[in-house]
Symmetry: C2
């Protein structure tokens, strides 16, 4: 039996996975990047000792980040993904045939290299000609870029610690909004309201100061250990519960979780979340 | 810093809680019963080294077991709870003023004793005059009882191992159905479709052979470590998405999770569950 690899969430709670084999371990200029093969979650990407994504449950995270935004934005021709070095988010984006260009901004090339080699089942769209991967800092990109505006922006950052912390700053969100079409939709992972209620609430307040429509939604990501993860749908126009049916129908068969009923369901918030947000 | 108390789910995945203090530890004729005080989940009931319920997240389990059934059954005067020695389920049942009698069948008196003493925040309804707690085996009760039939039956069993395993047998479900009014509603915890898909699917099949309407629903229970837990709503008549509004309104303010939108949302199943059930 292999040794346990534990992630300790808050100093007091840990999720442990039994490791069959460490497939990859390296230090980039930014962080420690590992890929471990586990008994119960398959291959797992670990960054600075934090479980990032696994073969077993990655669909629950990536489908939920991508499809609520991509099925509701008025146009989805140009899509920006910031972070997401494992390739799962851009894979989901590129399943939409209306997407003409997907720019992915990832600070750490080593993550993509490790993912391409050891997690080929997650990043299946690396060779899609519509994909444009650039290894630069997301916060610099949204500040300085003079690229055209985007129809959809997806923020696939890590936790608000380490090199990913800036992706939770108001300045960064402002930069994203600058890059977003006026009627565009932005979606982001926004942490767990159970494990990190303060970060979750703070993030909602930052987003509300920038966008007219800010709608958190919830779902499970077993690897993140708390039973409930959150993402947030943001826009100045439109609303998240009127998806384009044709776009939904085109992706249902290839989705392991996402379907039209689930799209409506994930926006229903339990009382403890509504109360924390004064909704 | 306290030591870790880990529950290993499947031999390969574990959830660990840092323990401040072990408040109670005893062996009954059936099982080992412990109450530990933890940093992140508050007080936790542990049976045979399996985390049962915690002060921190118990509402997510108990509200989801009780209210979908109690807001949809035609009548809720007589309610039967089998298991649930911590007292959380009967507490939720007795919040409904239409309930005139709640019989709770728990095999192990030691669990109730430990819960009364160390988890008073969970079992707040022990002194309700409508509550009738009987320490007998649930499977014997539903076989032999000549009590009147029940309007609602809630099965709050542990996992299908140890003394609770019989509560997942078809014979037991048949006994429950015998005790249920013709238009009554039964609800039960039915394990995790992520961690124990085989048990989940098998349970659905057993229930479908007995009830005309069998509807699993999903929600998070962080203590159970997989991100998604399931319960199942069963009846021969009626359906789960037409709750009685007055009953919902009466309990919203006192509920930490349950509300009418969530009631509708929890029955939306992700594709991987629908496919496993051939829905």
């Amino acid at each position: 039996m292999g040794l346990w690899y534990d992630e300790t969430f808050d100093g007091h709670t840990r999720l442990g996975l039994r490791v069959k084999e460490t497939l990859y371990s390296a230090e980039s200029s930014y962080q420690k990047v590992e890929v471990i093969d586990t008994e119960s979650f398959g291959r797992v990407l670990v960054i600075d000792n934090v479980f990032m994504t696994s073969e077993y449950d990655e669909f629950l995270y990536h489908e939920m980040l991508a499809h609520p935004a991509l099925t509701t934005a008025p146009r989805i021709e140009r899509v920006l993904v910031i972070g997401g070095g494992d390739g799962g988010t851009v894979r989901e984006v590129l399943r939409h045939s209306d997407v003409k260009q997907c720019v992915m901004i990832e600070i750490d090339e080593l993550v993509v290299e490790a993912a391409k080699r050891y997690l080929p089942g997650i990043g299946t769209a690396w060779n899609d000609p519509r994909l444009d991967v650039r290894f630069i800092d997301g916060i610099d990109y949204v500040k300085k870029s003079d690229d055209e505006k985007y129809d959809v922006i997806l923020l696939d950052g890590t936790d608000p610690i380490g090199p990913g912390a800036v992706l939770f700053n108001e300045a960064f969100y402002e930069g994203c909004k600058r890059m977003l079409a006026e009627d565009g939709v932005m979606a982001l992972q926004s942490e767990s309201p159970l494990l990190m209620m303060d970060v979750f609430v703070e993030t909602q307040h930052k987003l509300r100061s920038l966008f007219a429509e800010v709608h958190p939604y919830l779902g499970p990501v077993p690897l993140y250990g708390t039973g409930t993860w959150s993402w947030t749908w943001c826009s100045d126009t439109g609303e998240p519960l009127r998806p384009v049916k044709e776009r939904q129908e085109a992706i249902i068969e290839g989705s392991k979780a996402y379907n039209p009923e689930l799209h409506q369901a994930i926006f229903a918030l339990p009382n403890y979340v509504k109360r924390a947000l004064k909704l």
